[in-house]
Symmetry: C2
Subunit: 266 residues, 2 copies
């Protein structure tokens, strides 16, 4: 390190709530991992080259009911030859940062051993892969392409700066992908565009920011809404939770309406 660097002032901590606030649960690391895996179909695979060096490559995947990724791999590809030699592998899947900070998005690494399924397990694997990657229908199981299932032993989730957690393999297998995820972006935009008053009421009544002057929704999930609250004391992140987890995407609207009513209850 040379001497001409200046370290920026650490940012001031956000202002705390002024009143009691409702508990607002979040997705577990296992749920975050399952949600990321379900929401995507392209990841990067790490395998071992002949000399034991790590090799990174792009793969498509689907997922079985327990979250095990199903890859469709050409034996002509380096990673295909690698898996035949050593079945240890690791798959990383990331949310898309768009134009935002590329390190401030969720990603998950699944590590374990891959195997080539047969019988009913091959049929299930093919169905899972093709459901995610319809283009693979012509490839899966033919010619030089093989289906591989990655049996997950380790799960490491990173949610952005300073948010990271491992999950047990059993917890990963048992967790459910968030059913709200596919509609979350649209729902967030709708709330910000058309329901700023409801978001402000939630920030004041449910998140303890009684002095809030406005609030925007930064994202939402089956357990609740992330808010960005403006107050005369500065900006603060906050979270408000649904009364109970949303079971289906179709129920999100009703859950949000209930939350808004609760915020406005005298």
């Amino acid at each position: 390190m040379t001497a001409d660097h200046t370290i920026a002032e650490p940012p001031a901590p956000p202002p705390p709530p002024l009143a009691p606030f409702l508990p607002a649960p979040r997705r577990s690391a296992a749920e975050e991992a399952r949600t990321l895996v379900a929401a995507n179909r392209v990841g990067s695979l790490a395998t071992l080259s002949a000399d034991g060096a790590p090799w990174a490559s792009i793969v498509t995947y689907g997922a079985l009911g327990d979250g095990s990724p199903v890859l469709c791999v050409s034996t002509l590809a380096e990673h295909g030859r690698n898996l035949h030699r050593d079945t240890r592998a690791s798959l990383v899947v990331s949310a898309d940062a768009g134009d935002g900070d590329p390190l401030d998005v969720g990603r998950v690494t699944l590590a374990g051993r891959a195997f080539v399924p047969d019988g009913w397990e091959e049929d299930a694997a093919r169905a899972a892969h093709v459901a995610a990657v319809p283009q693979a229908a012509q490839l899966a199981g033919f010619g030089d392409f093989s289906l591989w299932i990655l049996r997950v032993d380790r799960v490491r989730w990173v949610g952005g700066y300073g948010r990271m957690q491992s999950a047990e393999a059993d917890a990963y297998a048992a967790a459910e992908p968030d059913p709200v995820e596919p509609v979350a972006t649209r729902a967030r935009d709708h709330l910000n565009d058309d329901h700023a008053d409801a978001l402000l009421a939630m920030a004041r009544a449910l998140a303890g920011y009684t002095d809030a002057t406005s609030a925007r929704c930064d994202g939402l999930d089956r357990y609740g809404l992330n808010l960005r609250v403006q107050t005369p004391r500065g900006e603060a992140p906050a979270r408000v939770g649904f009364g109970e987890p949303v079971a289906r995407a179709a129920d999100l609207r009703a859950a949000t309406v209930t939350l808004a009513r609760r915020a406005r209850r005298p």
Copy 2:
């Protein structure tokens, strides 16, 4: 493989040109690799865990003038601990498939050994990383973050289905990222929206498809245009080359105009 699969008919080969056509060079594998690395800033890193198993993770990177990736890695992250133990690493970078076929896009794997630079090399590495990832300005070289340069020994480029090639490390270091890449999508759309007549003239006069009824541009680069040509005999891919490689993005328009004039020359 079970018995109930049907293999689709292989598609008919596209109709050939009817007249002589101009040679149309393409980017080399080394140029494709350099272009992909220059156009992106997020990749996946494969490193080795303590037990020698491969570990995949998301990293941001910038690139030095010879295309060597510069990573900014936390020693608290698993891949940071891995690199300190074994410096062998591999970085894969992929174009964004958007809603298209995720396997029909370019990607490149760079493999080699990573090292922590010092002195002027550290300064160059920091500048390269921060140029690509401004958010890292607060991190690079401070606290638990270290800059690592990946010295590239192997380069493997895949351009989509059936297009793949390795490049020598020397050729990769010497190649130039395509200066046209940052404006290629916009230029393609402009040609398709406003210059369908010029594309048709190119297909007829320069690509040998004298019976072409229409042509669209599928993509372009410093060496030429990829066309999708409609004929009474079916659809065909074609390529038309610029007289000489485009040196700067700002010269692309003039090169395309010259090509269109040449196609219309009686």
